[in-house]
């Protein structure tokens, strides 16, 4: 296939920010003055400054989508502001071809007192439409936003969802060559989000998209290249989406196991995975379709206590519950000895897809399942497989001749 034209080219892009407001304002005055004579000088960090974005390079062609991920404060929004031409870089160069559209704030230019209809014109004007263009698209916008009934009501009485829908309906009329999207899709209900994605899918083939999000399912769905930002620097850059997402989650994995609730009668002494393949970065690895064997040892306060019910559940990296293991039998087949008891939970032929998972435990007693202990993130494990898929399960299957 013929390579499409490069629409965005970013070379050695850097931007510094100041940590202190008063100093920042003073630097602002200085910059205003030095700007008057071109400000060609090399820029280095002044006192109290830091690099918010440092040395970013990429190229983006029509039809491609670049994902920018990284935790809060990693420099994503600063990078977007530079791409959008709102602020000037301190080093490096951005070359953008064509019309740039930004979905950074929906409904910019809205005045709450004015009606929805009037605000379509306000918002459209800010986005660069002419009056004629807006008039032509007015009906389409109202229908897309699904607020015909309320279009002549002041926007201040709209629900936040309605405001966002109206804003997106106007923005969706843009036919940009380069589209910048910053987390706006996080608001709104499911129907709205699906609609947004449908619109983006439609324009993607003719557009270069730069997409910032904390939602990895969205990122993996849209993007074909990722930059993982960490303290303004690019920590990972490439087309291996799964690896980038793993690295991103890696930043959050070092959280300690936490006891959410305990009544003091039970204490987890030891937990570990048995028969593991390998241990990397303190995470035990198991082959796909191998056996998940978790060893537990508990200390009890009252040696005569009845063995409670143990619920072990598996969560993915986004803390979504995926599965729960069957409860222990009653009466239980293990006994308290020297104030402790131990057992191994086994799940054979685990068919979770490649990735890192964590285990939560919930212990309760009696007929009414009174909680006595709840621990999140007891341990993590990684499933190894050569196939990279997004759904949480890769279920073993065979394709056979019908009988």
């Amino acid at each position: 296939m013929e390579e499409k034209e490069v629409l965005v080219k970013v070379e050695g892009l850097s931007k510094k920010f100041c940590k202190d407001l008063k100093t920042s304002l003073w630097y602002g005055i200085k910059d205003l003055l030095s700007n008057l004579n071109g400000n060609q000088a090399e820029r280095s960090l002044r006192e109290k400054e830091f690099w918010a974005v440092k040395d970013i390079n990429f190229e983006l062609r029509r039809g491609e989508c670049l994902g920018l991920i990284g935790h809060n404060g990693a420099g994503k929004s600063t990078l977007l502001k530079m791409l959008n031409g709102l602020i000037n870089p301190d080093a490096g160069k951005i070359t953008i071809k064509g019309r740039v559209g930004a979905l950074i704030e929906l409904g910019a230019g809205f005045n709450p007192i004015l009606t929805g209809r009037e605000n379509i014109y306000n918002n459209g004007a800010v986005l660069g439409f002419t009056r004629k263009e807006i008039e032509e698209k007015l009906e389409e916008i109202i229908d897309f936003a699904e607020i015909r009934e309320f279009i002549d009501m002041p926007v201040q009485n709209y629900s936040s969802g309605m405001k966002v829908r109206l804003g997106f309906a106007v923005a969706a009329q843009m036919k940009p060559d380069v589209l910048i999207i910053d987390e706006v899709l996080a608001v709104g209900d499911l129907g709205f989000i699906l609609k947004c994605f449908k619109t983006i899918d439609l324009i993607l083939p003719n557009t270069a998209i730069i997409f910032v999000s904390h939602s990895m399912p969205q990122v993996s769905r849209l993007c074909d290249e990722i930059i993982l930002l960490e303290r303004g620097r690019s920590e990972f850059q490439g087309k291996d989406i799964a690896k980038a997402i793993d690295l991103y989650y890696g930043h959050f994995t070092n959280n300690q196991k936490n006891i959410v609730f305990t009544d003091g009668s039970l204490e987890l002494e030891n937990v570990e995975l048995l028969d593991v393949e390998n241990v990397e970065n303190e995470i035990a690895q198991i082959l796909w379709n191998g056996h998940l064997k978790i060893y537990f040892r508990f200390r009890v306060r009252n040696p005569k206590m009845e063995i409670p019910n143990f619920n072990v559940s598996i969560f993915d990296k986004e803390q979504r519950p995926l599965a729960i293991l069957q409860e222990n039998l009653k009466p239980s087949n293990f006994k308290i000895k020297n104030g402790t008891f131990e057992f191994v939970v086994i799940h054979r032929n685990i068919q979770l897809s490649k990735g890192i998972y964590s285990i939560n435990m919930h212990v309760s007693k009696g007929k009414f399942n009174t909680p006595i202990l709840r621990i999140n993130d007891i341990l993590k494990f990684q499933i190894l497989h050569d196939k990279d898929i997004w759904p949480p399960f890769l279920l073993a299957s065979t394709f056979e001749k019908p009988t």
């Binding site: 629409l7 920010f17 920042s24 304002l25 630097y27 602002g28 005055i29 910059d31 205003l32 700007n35 008057l36 071109g38 400000n39 060609q40 820029r43 502001k81 530079m82 791409l83 959008n84 031409g85 709102l86 602020i87 000037n88 870089p89 301190d90 080093a91 490096g92 160069k93 951005i94 070359t95 953008i96 071809k97 064509g98 019309r99 740039v100 930004a102 950074i104 704030e105 910019a108 230019g109 005045n111 007192i113 004015l114 009037e118 014109y121 306000n122 004007a125 800010v126 986005l127 660069g128 002419t130 009056r131 060559d177």
Partner: protein, 281 residues
């Protein structure tokens, strides 16, 4: 297919001429946006009010009324103004308020657009132009009021009245030019706005707004140096049909204000990214 190419980098490697050309081009291309912003603000301003437009001249009328009262009651004796004092005071305060609004307009339009400035890239010149639109709207209301006064006090019609809109427009250009230079700094530091408003309220008394230039003394020198004096006086002359006294100085001011307006536009244009950077979202 040819696509417009934008380059963002540290150096702003354009000459004054190129920047001015870009600025004027953006003013033209964003004419709808500018109108829309002005329309939005004017509509929104009056939708929640019954008296509406009347508020636009209540402040200058009140100031003038105070001076008319002080003068009539003999508390303050002003130099002979040559025309009925109420006309003098009303016209002075109205023209003064137009100039003050023009000085504040670029700052206030830019300030009120903070939330979109930090998120959306649009021609910023539209903010300045929308400010001028709003001023023109408010001023036209005031002109009608002024004309009413002229006839009410029997000064009558003069052909020079047709020059009044031109004179008002020049006052707007003068104020906007000053405003453009103040805006970047006054957005960074709130102090500047305060200093300007305090300074202007002092300056009003060194301008022939509510009394004429005295014949002698330090005040005469001050008022004759003050560049706002010829603007107020000449505009008032257009209104009353008297021969402008400070026409020479007035023309000098116009000749300075127009090129400075362009420099101001360029300064505003290159300052915006720096302001946005230091501005909270």
């Amino acid at each position: 297919m040819s696509l417009e190419t934008k380059i963002y980098q540290r150096e702003n490697n354009f000459g004054l001429g190129d920047l001015l050309k870009a600025s004027l081009k953006d003013i033209y291309s964003s004419r709808f946006l500018a109108r829309q912003i002005a329309e939005r603000d004017i509509k929104a301003q009056y939708r929640q009010s019954y008296l509406g437009i009347i508020w636009a001249f209540i402040t200058p009328l009140a100031t003038a009324a105070v001076w008319v009262f002080l003068n009539l009651s003999g508390t303050i004796r002003v130099t002979d103004t040559g025309i009925p004092y109420p006309v003098y005071a009303f016209s002075g305060t109205l023209i003064w308020s137009i100039i003050v609004e023009a000085i504040n307009a670029p700052t206030s339009s830019t300030n009120s657009a903070r939330s979109i400035l930090t998120k959306i890239n649009f021609p910023k010149e539209a903010l300045v132009i929308s400010g001028i639109y709003k001023l023109l709207f408010n001023s036209s209301v005031k002109i009608v009021l002024l004309l009413a006064f002229i006839f009410l006090f029997g000064i009558g019609f003069h052909w020079s009245i047709f020059l009044l809109p031109v004179a008002i427009f020049i006052a707007l250009v003068f104020g906007t030019t000053i405003g453009l230079f103040l805006t970047p700094v006054s957005i960074l530091y709130r102090d500047v706005g305060k200093i300007v408003s305090v300074g202007l309220s002092f300056l009003m008394y060194a301008t022939p707004v509510v009394y004429a230039i005295p014949d002698t003394g330090i005040m005469k020198t001050l008022m004759e140096i003050n560049p706002i004096s010829p603007i107020i006086l000449t505009t008032r002359n257009m209104l009353t049909g008297t021969m402008p006294e400070y026409l020479g100085y007035y023309i000098v001011i116009i000749l300075l204000a127009i090129p400075l307006l362009f420099v101001g536009l360029v300064f505003y244009r290159i300052s915006i990214p720096i302001i946005v950077e230091r501005m909270s979202a």
